[in-house]
Amino acid sequence: MDPERPSGSRSEQEWTDGPERLFEALGTDGCRRTLYVLLDRREVEVEELADVLAGWRVAGTEDVVGPDERREALLSLRHAHLPALAERGLLRYDRETGTVRRLPFADAAQSLLRRAAEYEAAHGVDPAIDEDDSRLPGNDGR
């Protein structure tokens, strides 16, 4: 890796300093949701994390999420989200065992994460399904 540009256009120092590393992480669904899971559990296996991210997509909907989407979630976790969160000092990811463990920085950010999670839970379900039904005159349901 080019030492001048360790990740994107920022320097290593910027990534590991200050609240920016947390706010950056909050901008990505997979990173943010991983941090939410770690709010109530210090440790979780990456396989279960993939289950949870897959289930997250269908919570509050009538859809079923299958193995393909879950595999995508697992790959994203392993190759993108977990390395990014580890790099920002928010968690430790052991590739050998698949164990994900929360780090003290995330502890310090708990109340912020908790608020963000509440906000997301309240706004997380796509209301488009109900709207679709109401737009169809004469739809008498099934």
Binding site: V37, L39, A50, A59, A117, V125
Partner: protein, 236 residues
């Protein structure tokens, strides 16, 4: 096992697909009770912060099968209040596939009706092949007459009906009716479609009423198992 109960033996023999369910909810659910029996294990986890609703992860020995909102799974297992009508009955295929070949100790009649209708719909849409259906009573046969009249009128399906002997509201001259089979026809609820030459369309529902209104049974999309079910039926 005895030879005079071929369907019961088949049901016991094929029902080995265990499912592991993990519910992510605010409190333990009644799902474990609903899925009573030794083929489903239900484990509870607290719902993670931020998830907009409780959900369930379904795993088999092969790994992750699917995930679904808890409410969707509960209403699926209970079955719809009105059985779906022919022409619009494949809405829950994905959910049904999650539990393919998983024996349930306590299936609801509503769920059996919905599953039957989905399988009849598959046959109806294909329009060819052989559809086998066993009714527990002649009254149940009468109740499905309208649906089967449409199936028989609008397709080239070869329909074989198994039912205990007795009077009918009207004759089923357009189907082949078997009322002389050796197995205990009144105990079983069964729909089996051979796929009409396309294995991907094959499906079967096999359920036994072990207590009044309580059914032990399973459904499958495995062509070999569907063929075995049909062979058992045809052997009488």
């Amino acid at each position: 096992m005895t030879d005079d109960d071929p369907l019961g033996n088949l049901l016991e023999r094929v029902g080995g697909r265990h499912r592991w369910l993990r519910t992510y909810a605010d409190e333990p659910t009644a799902l474990a009770d609903a899925l009573a029996g030794h083929n489903v294990t239900v484990e509870h986890r607290d719902r993670p912060a931020g998830v907009p609703g409780p959900f369930v992860v379904v795993r088999s020995a092969e790994g992750f099968r699917g995930a679904v909102a808890l409410g969707s799974l509960e209403s699926f297992l209970a079955g719809p209040t009105e059985p779906p009508v022919l022409g619009d009955a494949d809405g829950e295929r994905e959910l049904r596939e999650l539990f393919e070949r998983t024996p349930f100790a306590s299936l609801e009649r509503r769920q059996l009706l919905a599953t039957s209708r989905e399988f009849e719909e598959r046959a109806y849409r294909a329009g060819e092949g052989r559809l086998h259906v066993a009714f527990q009573t002649r009254a149940a046969m009468d109740a499905q007459r309208t649906t089967y009249r449409a199936i028989l009128r609008e397709t080239d399906l070869d329909v074989h009906v198994y039912a205990p002997p007795g009077p009918l509201g009207e004759p089923w001259t357009d189907a082949t009716v078997h009322d002389d089979v050796g197995w205990a026809v009144g105990r079983f609820w069964l729909v089996a479609y051979d796929g009409g030459g396309d294995d991907r369309r094959a499906c079967a529902l096999l359920a036994e009423e072990r207590d009044p209104d309580r059914y032990f049974g399973l459904w499958t999309y495995d062509p070999a198992l569907v063929a075995a079910t049909i062979a058992t039926l045809e052997a009488g």
